[in-house]
Symmetry: C2
Subunit: 338 residues, 2 copies
DNA sequence: CTTAGCACTTGGGTTAGATGAGTGCTAAAA
DNA sequence: TTTTAGCACTCATCTAACCCAAGTGCTAAG
């Protein structure tokens, strides 16, 4: 009970909490001396810490962990917040990406933290088509389509000397040999077999291979959306410019970020401070959650905030949001799948 | 001579400069008292200021202005920097946008400030084609091409009940009636005539109009690249979180930013602090420059830094860069135009 | 097991004083 | 008429001394 009170108090006030104030808050009547004794025991267990020898206590990472695992009960979400969520998700969206992107926006607005969203995805997306669309006399657009509906494009100018027939042959080659394979496989073959094959039709295939590679790696990357980037300036110690910089850099490094977010197994997962492998995040906490959309796979939403965030409220919010988003996307697919 | 010395000193040290230190620096022998007299005169003219009644002097906006207009001589660019510029621009680029984007990168790296680049453009780009490319059973990609080679795409899902023929008819309508008109005109007609015309072929044209509108406004927007966003954290007063936020927000607001950058008439233009109309930038300076690429129009590069930037070095750098970039792009077009 | 009492610790805030870099002004020197 | 030395004065910055409030641990009594 005392640990719970300490976490609640500290997360909302940000000030180390002392025995007297705590005693006054507890539901039963106990003196501050009693609380002090208990606090000493909690410190012994490594659940709370002092900032200096005569200060009040703050939860340790281990303390937050215990709190999150055993004590926290999600706050019911405010009716007003539910309204915001529902109405924001309510618009007419013509592609999933818009929904996922605004989701990150909503979540960050509601929390004043930074939110991440990943669209629902099956294990390994497969190549389902590649084509070149002529736009002008020399301008061409490469389009790569995957089986979960993503399309990646890239415009470029044709190098002199390349003819339409040659390109058509190459595109046919790609489609014949690679459609249905996973992007991972295709990427591998791009290193091995493909270059030789292409040389049969193009004498200098570098240009084509670069474009195809570009568009392929783009499609293969876990694409995620970030909402409330700037909120980082609120909740992080903005005097340490270097730390801010490395955080922002991290957020742009797609692969590292995919690592951080993971594909959580559990519905809602909380990672606290140094529990995260990435050292840059040692002063932050991350709440990740999956949302499931029938046979269209799972997506991820995540919330990055300070270690001392009001977990009960945030967990409640993320919980409701994942449900609403799942509902919304199921509707979306029902509408377009038919 | 004294104003020049004050600007040089202050921009490099950041500390208000006093009479004694200044006297020591001047080429001829004068006492600090003489310098004090001259400084009083300069202050009278509004060219320099004190931070408090007994402090050294710092240049005022008016002082920087005079310095930039009459006193500054561009530093010759370090051989090393020239190497970096040349080698970075040297790679094999398949589209202009890549060159323009890396330009912003290079410029920000060399200066530790934030750089902006706009691609070369003719006055008003015109619509040169619109098409819908089918990707899957219901998935379609809208492609809009302009006469200066930009292609804007947008994938979306077809609303149920819409047939291929209907869409073909609409696309034909768009191409017949609108190709050759400027994007501005087309945007206007989208508000007026187009909806009625489209209704002839589609009973609920909202979806199509949204997509067409999206892709059109995207294409019509001045698209610029930003390099070294994070450098802002170095040179701005990073304790004022709100200011930082509004600066970053400004950088993402395309229309406001287009306003800030303008299309400078002169080769190199310096705007200092409050000279900029936008109040958010009152503590910064902006160096803008055009680069000309034959009959492909003019582009813009710009550098945002603190008011107390070493103008001589920066002006030199921007000057060389615009030349190199113009050269590089001329080459690029020569290669692909033929 | 709980509580009152007490000595002790510590960060933060306030005050006073010292320091030094700078100024403006006056009067003498060039 | 311009330059310079001299001097009184201003102000930001730094340090040291001090107090205060909030907190602790410990002991002994309830």
């Amino acid at each position: 009970m005392i640990l719970k009170a300490i976490v609640r108090d500290y997360t909302s006030s940000g000030v180390p909490v002392g025995s007297k104030a705590l005693a006054a808050q507890l539901p039963m009547h106990v003196s501050s001396a009693t609380v002090r004794n208990e606090m000493a025991a909690l410190e012994e267990l490594g659940l709370i810490n002092k900032t200096h020898s005569s200060s009040g206590r703050i939860p340790s990472v281990k303390g937050y962990r215990y709190y999150v695992d055993h004590l926290v009960q999600p706050d019911p979400v405010k009716a007003n917040d539910i309204d915001i969520i529902k109405s924001s998700l309510d618009g007419q969206f013509l592609k999933i990406d818009e929904i996922i992107e605004t989701s990150a926006q909503i979540l960050s607005n509601l929390t004043s933290y930074t939110a991440f969203t990943l669209k629902p995805e099956l294990q390994d997306s497969k190549l389902s088509g590649f084509r070149l669309v002529p736009l002008g006399k020399r301008q061409v657009m490469a389009v790569l389509v995957t089986d979960n509906g993503d399309a990646e494009t890239q415009t470029f100018n044709l190098a002199p000397g390349v003819t339409g027939e040659q390109l058509e042959a190459v595109v046919r080659l790609i489609n014949d040999q690679l459609v249905g394979k996973s992007l991972r496989e295709v990427l591998q073959e791009l290193q091995t077999k493909i270059p030789q094959e292409v040389t049969k039709y193009l004498q200098s295939p570098e240009g084509f291979l670069k474009i195809f590679g570009d568009v392929l790696t783009q499609a293969a990357q876990e694409r995620y959306y970030v909402g409330g980037r700037l909120n980082l300036l609120n909740f992080s110690d903005s005097s340490d410019v270097d730390e801010l910089k490395s955080l922002y850099t991290l957020m742009d490094r797609t692969d590292d970020m995919a690592d951080v977010l993971g594909r959580p197994s559990d519905h809602i997962q909380v990672k606290i401070g140094s529990e995260m492998t990435n050292a840059i995040l040692r002063d932050y906490s991350l709440i990740t959650a999956t949302y499931e959309v029938g046979d269209h796979g799972k997506g991820v939403i995540a919330l990055l905030g300070p270690t001392r965030m009001p977990y009960s409220r945030m967990i409640g919010l993320v919980g409701t949001f994942r449900q609403e988003l799942a509902k919304r996307l199921t509707d979306y697919y029902r509408y377009f799948d038919q």
